[in-house]
Symmetry: C2
Subunit: 232 residues, 2 copies
DNA sequence: GGGCTGGTTATGGTCAGACAAATAGGCGGG
DNA sequence: CCCGCCTATTTGTCTGACCATAACCAGCCC
């Protein structure tokens, strides 16, 4: 009794233990899959899966023939989930609010055309809006949508539906570049979020492509005290 | 000739194509593993791996007996690699510089003891230092190390080796919570990085544990214009 | 000595078959 | 009508065998 199956999870946990306890020093070569399979009494595929996952997590380094070694300085990557504002707010049990501040159709300004590789004179929709949580300003959104890529955006008023939710439905699977930075509050941003001029604002910029074509660029300014947090 | 093996990569690519081309609508049930295995002429394990990876990437949702469906709104997560400052600077082909500004041993202040769950009166090392790239200030580091967890930090002067590099060697595998935020430049930070008082500063805060015990807390302030960028 | 070549070996991946675990949805009892 | 049990179905995982691919290294030729 009690001798249950050893799963790849068990193997992974034990390998992780040996790595963190430094039984296997950083940079050291660890036993081959076959040896470990014998030791744990499992198939090689099982050891393989355990080691593959540890490699994905940045703890091991593997090369054919060269074998597997413990990463000298573990390459750690933090994962941030990028939720819809609405989902983020409602997940915290607060009421989500949306208000459109401005909407205009115009030829893309130079910096935007450059950023999105748009042909000169391409028309775009420019939107500014405010997302709030329990009535308090939460995030100011300054968005540009290329009408060349999404003609439908010209017909949508965005009075009740936020541009991000509209976009998710129009283009669900896209390629994204996102940046976080600190900016100084000014003008509309300061007014909408209640900042004094020049106050530091945590800001995200996101550009989205679909099938190689630029769709939209957005600058998101967060309310005072906002943090982007994760564990790893 | 020409009929090469279909790998799990091929299957994955084709499934991805069907998802992004919306042949399978968001929320729709996709065929079961057995059906797909038949269709592609591969083993079920191969389809399984393809679908498992797509699930990890947030494109599919799987439940036993209920089957696999396309995620209604794809849950996308951005990965940020968190490199050593030195590696980050040298990767850009610039010369790395390090300077210790201040070093003191003291009883942990209240906020720190609370943050790290330290017993009252626990002694800590407080370090401030500056990392530079090609001579220009790059990052100001304000670090606290618990002597309860790492007595060795009391003996190290940190004159030539940065605390992060020292710590990586002392505690290579740790649990980390990291936050990004925007702060106002003031005092030492402003002086070291050449900011005016109150200017916005992109800041990271990181707390590190090892085996459940808090090791260190650090606030990293970046030079003007710094961005944290990634694609996904 | 230097460079090419092929053998050896570790990881990468596929396969077919089997069993385990979870659970949606039907069935029966109250 | 509602609730709880059963079962068929679907994904999850393991096995042991096999072939593929990369690369270290020894030995050969020049």
């Amino acid at each position: 009794m009690g001798d249950e199956k050893t799963t790849f999870r068990d193997v992974k946990a034990e390998l992780l233990r040996r790595i963190t306890a430094q039984l296997w020093a950083p940079g050291a070569l660890v036993p081959g899959e076959v040896d470990l399979a014998t030791e744990f009494g499992v198939a090689r595929a099982t050891v393989n899966r355990a080691m593959r996952e540890l490699t994905e997590e940045g703890l091991l380094e593997r090369r054919r023939k060269a074998g597997t070694r413990v990463r000298p300085s573990p390459l750690r990557a933090a994962r941030f989930e990028i939720p819809l504002v609405r989902a983020e707010i409602e997940a915290g049990g607060r009421a989500y609010g949306y208000r459109l501040i401005g909407r205009a159709v115009m030829a893309a300004p130079g910096w935007l055309a450059a950023r999105l590789s748009l042909a000169p004179g391409t028309r775009v929709v420019h939107l500014t809006c405010l997302h709030s949580a329990d009535g308090a300003p939460y995030q100011f959104e300054d968005r540009w949508i290329s009408l060349a890529a999404l003609p439908g955006a010209g017909a949508e008023g965005f009075e009740t539906i936020g541009p991000n939710e509209w976009l998710i439905r129009a283009v669900p699977f896209s390629e994204v570049e996102i940046s976080f930075l600190a900016t100084a509050a000014a003008g509309e941003v300061a007014a909408a979020l209640g900042y004094g001029e020049g106050e530091p604002v945590f800001t995200a910029e996101r550009t989205t492509w679909w099938q190689g074509q630029a769709i939209t660029h957005v600058r998101l300014s967060f309310a005072r005290g906002h943090r982007m947090t994760t564990r790893y």
